[in-house]
Amino acid sequence: MTEIYENSEDIVAARRAYNETLAAAHDKRRAYWFPMFVVASLLALPALQLVGNYNYLIHLVLYTMCYVTMASGWNIIGGFAGYISLGHNVFFAVGGYFAGMIFARYGISTIAMAPLAGLVCAVLGYVIGLITLRVRGPSFIISSLALVMIFRIFLENWHFVGGAAGVSLPANDLPVETAKFPYYYAFLAMAVFAVWASYKIKHSKFGLGLRAISKDEIKAESAGINTRLYKVLAFAFSAFFVGMAGSVWGEYLTYIRPNIFLVILISVNMVLMCILGGKGTIAGPVIGAVLIVAFNEFFVATLGASAINILATGLIMALTLMFFPLGLVGTLAKHRKLPRVLNWD
């Protein structure tokens, strides 16, 4: 008989050593200074307006932070729970319309309304989730697309909100140099909150349950996790952040219209940012947002804002999905090369 080990203790020891080699490396050290540095710089950025006209830069950063909020929110259902929603811009629209209409009629600032708009979207997300989260994978994705179509038709035909033409919102009466400031800081606050919240969720029992669901839902269910509740809650949470961002976006643009919120590129961007950065990681949506906005600017500058934009976005997405499905943060982490400043998990 072939035999390698003399006695059982050797085997047990060998087994322990073998299991060690299979365990993933885990760098527990955190570079806390980095996110704080980023936030501090962002707080100070508008001061540039004192030395020159950086309005466009401020707009870009604001735009990025809006997406950071939305992508981080999307990450909760798409990254943590693994349910890809291609129709999350519905909540962007609902938030925008809710706060925008209140602003138009009663003059209450959308920034003040943002949390409430988020809440409204969370409730809506909960209700929708109860229906759509009954099916998995492909059917869920399809239902999210149908949702966008339904809302679009609905909003385009509802006279109360101006139908396809939408509603115009008054601009604030700050001077041009500081006009963007309130929105800038609002989005900054939202982005920080969204990133912080997703960190908290990821490191909670809830987040652990979501991760189990994303790996194998049947096993998670049999392990005693109330998968239905968890999924729907995750969907509601993600809707909250997207709705908050939406509420301020309308006022920032000074009008609300269906094709501002419900255009496919917005939901694609949310998804692509998470995938490019790293689905399910904390830093992923942030990095993804920065990269995509940068790419977009680059393409518009070199190729003009045209159909090539869609082609390019699709190409980036396809290449990322085929060759870097774990995203930037995920791929680096897998190869143990993730720089500590990017390890926000």
């Binding site: 994978g137 059917s139 697309l145 339904i150 159909a307 934009n309 082609l311 699709g314 190409l315």
Partner: protein, 292 residues
């Protein structure tokens, strides 16, 4: 009463076109378990082939239909080899692949828009505006032809699946991929050929679409939602289900449109999807509750 029959016929004709559009999608899903969100954008490609053939050479869309099928089938072979073959073999399969097809849809839309701009197009062979009269009932010729061609193609597909050896292999792979493979079916080849067939059907649908609707590159988004609703309603993986759902919903939508207006007509498909999800998530002919 004649009004009702009229609407029924219009609904059925349109249903035929949707059924053809959905059949290819359903076939690919059954074999490869991939929801090809790029399917409608490929239908657009077929529509453009038909359009330019008509505009530049005066070739009738029904005549160019086989050519469109071949072109799209070839595209399918290339796409499969380039993109889907490796995806089909890996474990972590479903959602990422769906996103990939979504990205492809954007790529095709962008390419078509760059090449042909966003102008609305439509092919206008004579029969597109002609109609025949059966008593008091008015049947637009274009849609009638489209409905007939769809039936013929879907029927051929059904015969092929039921009676040919390869069809047998396709059905086995659809039911249980691993089992089929272990019993001697080259599932990769089955995937490749099914994908090509599915796309050929898309090409045919494109030719028909070119004179039934007016189209532009981003129109595929409307159809994604419609087709997907059909596939879910019919039951994922059941071609018969998709076809039945297509006819049913088109007729319902036609009646809804008559009584409530065109906007509500389109809404029918999406609302039906949600109702199905609420009441019977596996659709009409789907089997067990969905497995990813």
């Amino acid at each position: 009463m004649t009004d009702m029959i009229q609407i029924l016929i219009l609904g059925l004709a349109l249903g035929g076109v949707y059924a053809l559009m959905g059949a290819g999608l359903s076939l690919v899903f059954g074999v490869m378990r991939i929801v090809n969100l790029a399917h409608p954008s490929l239908i657009m490609m077929g529509a453009y082939v038909a359009y330019w053939a008509f505009r530049l050479y005066g070739i009738d869309p029904l005549v160019i239909l086989p050519v469109a099928m071949i072109i799209l089938a070839a595209t399918g072979l290339i796409l499969y080899k380039l993109v889907f073959e490796r995806e089909a073999k890996s474990a972590r399969y479903s959602e990422m692949t769906v996103l990939l097809t979504f990205a492809l849809a954007m790529i095709f839309e962008g390419a078509l828009a760059t090449a042909f701009t966003n102008t609305q197009r439509v092919t206008s062979p004579e029969y597109a505006t002609d109609a025949i009269f059966l008593g008091d009932i008015f049947i637009p010729l274009g849609q009638l032809y489209a409905g007939i061609v769809s039936l013929v193609l879907i029927g051929s597909l059904a015969l092929f699946l039921k009676f040919s050896r390869f069809g047998y292999a396709i059905r086995a792979t659809t039911q249980n991929r691993d089992a089929a493979q272990l019993l001697g079916v080259n599932v990769n080849l089955v995937g490749l050929v099914s994908f090509a067939i599915g796309l050929a059907l898309a090409g045919a649908a494109g030719s028909l679409v070119s004179f039934v609707f007016s189209f532009f590159p981003s129109k595929h988004w409307e159809w994604i939602a419609v087709l997907m609703s059909l596939v879910v309603l019919g039951g994922m993986g059941s071609i018969l289900g998709t076809v039945v759902a297509a006819y049913m919903l088109s007729v319902v939508a036609a009646f809804v449109g008559f009584f409530f207006g065109a906007t509500w007509s389109t809404l029918t498909f999406f609302l039906a999807l949600f109702v199905v999800l609420l009441v019977r998530p596996q659709g009409l002919f789907g089997e067990k509750p969905e497995l990813t």
